[in-house]
């Protein structure tokens, strides 16, 4: 009981602690509010006005230091509602060439606390953004007529070329969500929305500065606080050099005119993306200035989806280009040796299943099989691999081993390119088939994956990366479009070699097969007298007309460029894929096209594929 009594005395200790805190607060309040006048003066005459100073955004160059994106002055109109004494709306609208409804809506949005939480009638609020110098010049002259309105200079993006929109991306005003995610942004700020502008936003944007001004109770500016001691100069954004070759990009976009498809070229030794064409594309100039919203909406409604970057977001059956991965896997797993012959009598026929093929000698070993793109050879290979119960124990284990090889070559997962929105494609595993076929399946059920059909899909970037891997004879560096950020190290992801599960010697066999394909196989049209091109065609079946694909690299020894071409509904691989691939390689390695290839390029440019009007 004594103890309890003692404990209940602790109430006085706690009560006293509360009392001490109260006394502390009262003393502090007394000091702040009654003893000194300093704070009162501060408030009455020395209120701070934090004026934001915008940094210039980083400039973007291509790999040959050609200027791609730069800044151009533009003007914002800001308003202090409290200072508006009289407003001739009609005159203002005429001056700015806007409708009174639009102006009223802008005013409503500005005052809406949900859209603009920082609204106050006493501070400068952004009313209209990105006016051109001409529009603003007229207003400038009449500004005295509109008290409370101010003009603020800032910069907008400008583009030197009308290609590469998907990679360059664009900037736009921050949304409410952006502001919630990052406190750096304030209403009216700009943020990268697509492409490099978005993925390198932090580097490009720089850091806003601030000027601390003093103003009196009437809002008049009295000068800089402490003579600018606490002002912070804005830090300009960092300049970025892309790995893109803008001329190659131009040629690519030209060749795909009127067609839906992609071209991706990579420098194998560095993983640098040389061009990333997605067609249909759009002119980056459309995404600048006050027309951006309208243009963006129109494009997002276009059934051909020009905003979609098909090079990294389109997932397609890779078709026969995928056979190279099969050859590598079978060689490494010892399913075949280069001399293994399989017969192919116009295709693969076994237990009632038939996969067609075209005419060529039979039976044949690996290298001619690649060169002639024999379906039967790879069907047999896969059938033997999946069926090798003694080696793997079960169909499931064999399947997952196969999956591991594909993943090591960059398929099935997104590669990690420095652009937003990359898709991963699809590489099935045993679980997938167990579910699809309720556990009863074998090599024959899934035979079409060996020729890049069926469940397998990949992005054009992954196909180009496959070319780079073969060019490197066994490894790749994660593809990236940014070569250099001023004053910064590149992410180590873009410097590291990623080895596949296949040995170098097997890659030599496949490269030889691809060389043969150009010399006397399916890619004969890609043959150039002075460049040793290696290639593999693809003709991917789908509901409509076949897709035309090509994957290759050049030169055979010490390769400089790997390229993948994919043209939706283009027919045979040799129809579009091969000539486009050849032109891209020639352009990059020689710097220009020969006169007869210039004619070929114009011919391809003018060809159109009829896609109808349905949504794609």
């Amino acid at each position: 009981m004594d103890r309890n009594y003692n404990l209940s005395k602790r109430r006085y200790v706690i009560g006293t602690v509360v009392l001490c805190v109260v006394i502390l607060f009262v003393v502090r309040l007394f000091v702040l509010q009654v003893m000194t006048d300093e704070y009162k003066q501060n408030a009455d005459s020395n209120a701070f006005l934090r004026k934001i100073q915008y940094p210039s955004r980083g400039i973007i160059y291509d790999r040959t230091d050609k200027l791609l994106v730069y800044n151009q002055p533009a003007y914002d109109i800001t308003v202090i509602t409290k200072e508006i004494t009289s407003l001739d709306t009609a005159d203002l609208c005429r001056t700015l060439k806007i409708t009174p409804e639009f102006l009223r809506k802008k005013f409503r949005d500005m005052k809406d606390k949900r859209l603009n939480p920082g609204y106050s009638p006493y501070t400068n609020q952004v009313l209209l953004t990105q006016l051109s110098a001409e529009d603003c010049g007229v207003l400038q002259e009449k500004l005295f007529k509109f008290p409370g309105f101010y003009i603020q200079r800032r910069t907008i993006r400008q583009y030197n070329y009308n290609v590469g929109a998907h990679i360059l991306g664009d900037i736009a005003e921050v949304s409410k969500g952006d502001m919630e995610l990052d406190e750096y942004y304030q209403p009216g700020d700009f943020i990268g929305k697509l492409g490099v502008e978005r993925s390198y936003e932090k580097q490009l944007r720089g850091e806003k500065g601030v000027e601390i001004l003093l103003r009196d109770a009437h809002g008049r500016i009295q000068g800089n606080y402490m003579d600018g001691k606490y002002d912070k100069a804005p830090i300009p954004g960092k300049n970025i050099t892309l790995s893109l070759d803008i001329e190659l990009q131009q040629l690519g976009e030209r060749l795909l005119e009127g067609k839906i498809g992609s071209i991706v070229a990579i420098e194998p030794s560095t993983g640098e993306v040389l061009c990333l064409v997605s067609s249909p594309s759009y002119d980056p100039h459309l995404m600048v200035g006050r027309e951006r919203g309208k243009n963006h909406l129109a494009m997002s409604r276009n059934p051909w989806k020009p905003l979609l970057n098909r090079a990294i977001m389109g997932t397609y059956p890779p078709g026969s280009t995928f056979k190279t991965t099969q050859a590598l896997t079978f060689l490494q797993e010892g399913i075949i040796v280069p001399g293994t012959m399989y017969s192919c009598s116009h295709g693969f026929s076994f237990r009632g299943l038939h996969v067609g093929c075209h005419g060529h000698p039979s039976p044949l070993p690996l290298i001619p099989a690649i060169a002639t793109s024999c379906n039967g050879y790879f069907c047999w290979g896969l059938y033997h691999m999946i069926g090798a119960r003694q080696k793997y124990g079960s169909v499931q284990k064999a399947m997952n081993t196969w999956r591991d090889y594909m993943v090591s070559m960059g398929f099935g997962y997104s590669l990690g390119i420095d652009l937003p929105g990359e898709k991963r494609g699809m590489i099935p595993n045993a679980k997938f088939y167990d579910k699809a076929y309720r556990g009863s399946w074998n090599g024959l059920t899934i035979i079409s994956i060996s020729i890049g059909q069926g469940e397998v899909t990949a992005t054009p970037l992954q196909m180009a990366n496959l070319g780079a891997t073969i060019a490197n004879r066994g490894y790749f560096i994660t593809p990236h479009v940014v070569k250099k950020v001023e004053g910064e190290q590149l992410d180590s992801l873009y410097l590291k070699k990623r080895y596949t599960l296949v040995e170098k010697s097997h890659y030599e066999e496949v490269a030889q097969g691809m060389r043969m394909a150009v010399l006397g196989g399916t890619c004969r049209a890609a043959n150039l007298p002075d460049i040793e091109i290696c290639g593999k065609t693809g003709t991917a079946q789908n509901h409509g007309k076949d897709h035309s694909a090509f994957m290759g690299f050049a030169p055979y020894h010490n390769p400089q460029i790997a390229v993948a071409v994919y043209v939706e509904n283009g027919g045979w691989g040799a129809t579009y894929g091969v000539p486009i691939g050849k032109l891209m390689i020639e352009k990059y390695l020689k710097g220009k096209l020969s006169p007869e290839d210039e004619v070929l390029a114009t011919d391809i440019q003018n060809r159109r594929i009829d896609y109808g009007l349905e949504e794609r």
Binding site: R3, L7, S8, R10, R11, V13, I14, G15, V18, L19, V21, V22, L24, F25, V26, R28, L29, F30, L32, Q33, V34, T36, E38, Y39, K40, N42, A43, D44, A47, F48, R50, K82, K113, G118, S120, P121, Y122, T123, E180, L181, E183, V210, I212, A217, Y230, K232
Partner: protein
């Protein structure tokens, strides 16, 4: 017919008498204080969110209007809580706690981030912060556990479970990146203190804060001899003095050990300091460590000689203190986030940065200071209107009180809170059950912590920790959370006689 009437009548009279007794035993003083605070809070929000021009406080689109709606809901909620049976809190304490833990855990994976925090659950137009209600659940669970018949705080197992009840929700809230709300859980230690936890733990906590502040504040400053670091010197000196005081308080009565430690320890250090200053400069910190080691050996000797365990505890305290000094730097530089480091540095006056981290506090001091003795009057504050003070209707709401109501108004508000807390101490002490008492102390400790940290922050006394001021800060979740805490206690208090 008569039969039914009789039954009905009896039932009515029973109901009537129960209700009567509830209304009689209810503590109307507390309810009165609550109402006054809520009304004051609403006027402050009007002031903070008001722009000259259209004072339309009853429009539900404005913050004042919304807060009015939430106050209405709170009153209804309070009434419902009073109507409920008081035993349900005892019975369902663990259930409520468990559900709340699940909710907190789920919120960690909340994809909606609002300003870097995941603590909000968005249900259509309403956003709720489970952390605000978790305090109530934790208080209930703590009260329930500590009121069990066999509960004994000195038993290791019981203490561990008690601490788990406090720390599990705290950790979950830290995972939601709401460090401020999590710190509130430290206030439960005041409850444990009341229930018999030795005061030395609170003492150790206070020491840790002192060491931390001194150690960090002066960590890089040299003494005039050019060899000794101020922070290290001061903290090690304090360790010697605290040890001497502890030996005095907990050692054998009539023993002169404390005197020896105090005089010899401090004497040696002072002599060393003079020597270093005027003869040969050397690092006095090393001498102090030697002194501490000797002191440690002396404590072991005392323990062996007197056979009193307290000496060992004191030794443990000293060793931990020294260890803390050397780890504080590490914690500060490596564990704390950069923005937290800057806030602490600004608070300690190590960095003067009126535009960055110090901006909020500097502006709030200007706003409060400009209020003067009697303030500028309702809706006449200029600093808050011009949006100089960020978060002025949530965490920095007290600025508006300071600016518009002046010294007089601010002191009245502080006193109202203090009276509420003192009243709650009184109520908690008159509980007949331990359950009621522990819960009551939990409630008042939480209020006290919020009051201390929030107003301390606005006045520039404590670091900027984003927790609301009860009944004042804008926001439905926090108002409801505090209302539930308080009214559940009032309901338990009203039933104390049974």
């Amino acid at each position: 017919m008569k039969f039914w009437q009789r039954i009905f009548k009896t039932e009515e009279s029973i109901m009537g008498s129960r209700k009567d007794s509830l209304w009689k035993t209810l503590d109307w003083w507390t309810i009165g204080l609550y109402l006054v605070l809520v009304v004051c809070g609403w006027f402050s929000i009007c002031g903070a969110s008001y722009d000259y021009g259209d004072p339309n406080f009853f429009d539900f689109g404005t913050r004042a209007g919304k807060q009015l709606m939430w106050i209405g809901c709170s009153l209804g909620l309070g009434f419902v809580l009073l109507m409920l049976e008081d035993r349900i809190y005892d019975t369902y304490a663990y259930l409520i706690f468990g559900v709340m833990l699940l909710l907190l855990f789920g919120t960690i994976f909340n994809p909606h981030e609002i300003k870097g925090s995941r603590s909000w659950i968005v249900l259509g137009p309403v956003s709720l912060q489970p952390a605000e209600f978790a305090k109530f659940a934790t208080a209930l669970a703590l009260a329930k556990y500590m009121s069990e018949y066999s509960y004994n705080m000195e038993r290791f197992k019981h203490m561990v479970i008690t601490l788990a009840i406090i720390f599990v929700p705290m950790i979950l809230i830290v995972c939601q990146k709401e460090t401020g709300s999590a710190l509130v859980y430290l206030s439960f230690f005041l409850v444990l203190y009341r229930e018999g936890m030795t005061g030395s733990i609170l003492f150790a906590g206070v020491c840790a804060v002192i060491y931390f502040i001194i150690g960090i504040r002066f960590s890089a400053e040299m003494m005039p001899d050019g060899m000794t670091l101020w922070g290290e010197f001061a903290v090690l000196g304090l360790v010697v003095i605290f040890t001497a005081l502890l030996v005095e308080a907990y050692g054998k009565v009539g023993n002169r050990a404390s005197l020896y430690i105090g005089v010899c320890g401090c004497g040696t250090i002072l002599l060393g300091l003079l020597f270093s200053l005027y003869v040969i400069p050397f690092n006095v910190g090393i001498l102090e460590i030697v002194v501490c080691s000797v002191m440690g050996i002396y404590l072991i000797y005392l323990f062996l000689h007197e056979r009193i365990r307290n000496y060992l505890y004191i030794l443990f305290f000293s060793i931990c203190s020294i260890g803390f000094l050397f780890s504080a730097d590490y914690v500060f530089n490596n564990v704390l986030e950069p923005h937290q480091q800057i806030r602490i540095k600004v608070l300690l006056g190590m960095e003067d940065d009126p535009t960055g981290a110090g901006y909020n506090v500097n502006q709030s001091k200007i706003a409060i200071g400009s209020g003067g003795l009697t303030g500028k009057g309702f809706l006449n504050g200029t600093q808050t209107k011009l949006k100089y003070v960020p978060e002025q209707d949530t965490d920095f709401i007290f600025c508006t009180v300071g600016e518009e109501q002046g010294f007089v108004g601010s002191v009245i508000v502080v006193l109202l809170f203090a009276i509420l807390i003192w009243r709650l101490i009184h109520l908690a002490e008159r509980q007949t059950s331990r359950f009621g008492r522990v819960y009551g102390y939990s409630v008042l400790s939480i209020f006290f912590f919020h009051l201390f940290v929030n107003i301390g922050m606005v006045l520039g006394l404590t670091p900027v920790i984003g927790i609301p001021l009860p009944f004042f800060s804008y926001g439905g979740s926090s108002l409801w959370g505090f209302t539930i805490l308080l009214f559940v206690f009032l309901r338990i208090d009203a039933a104390r006689e049974r």
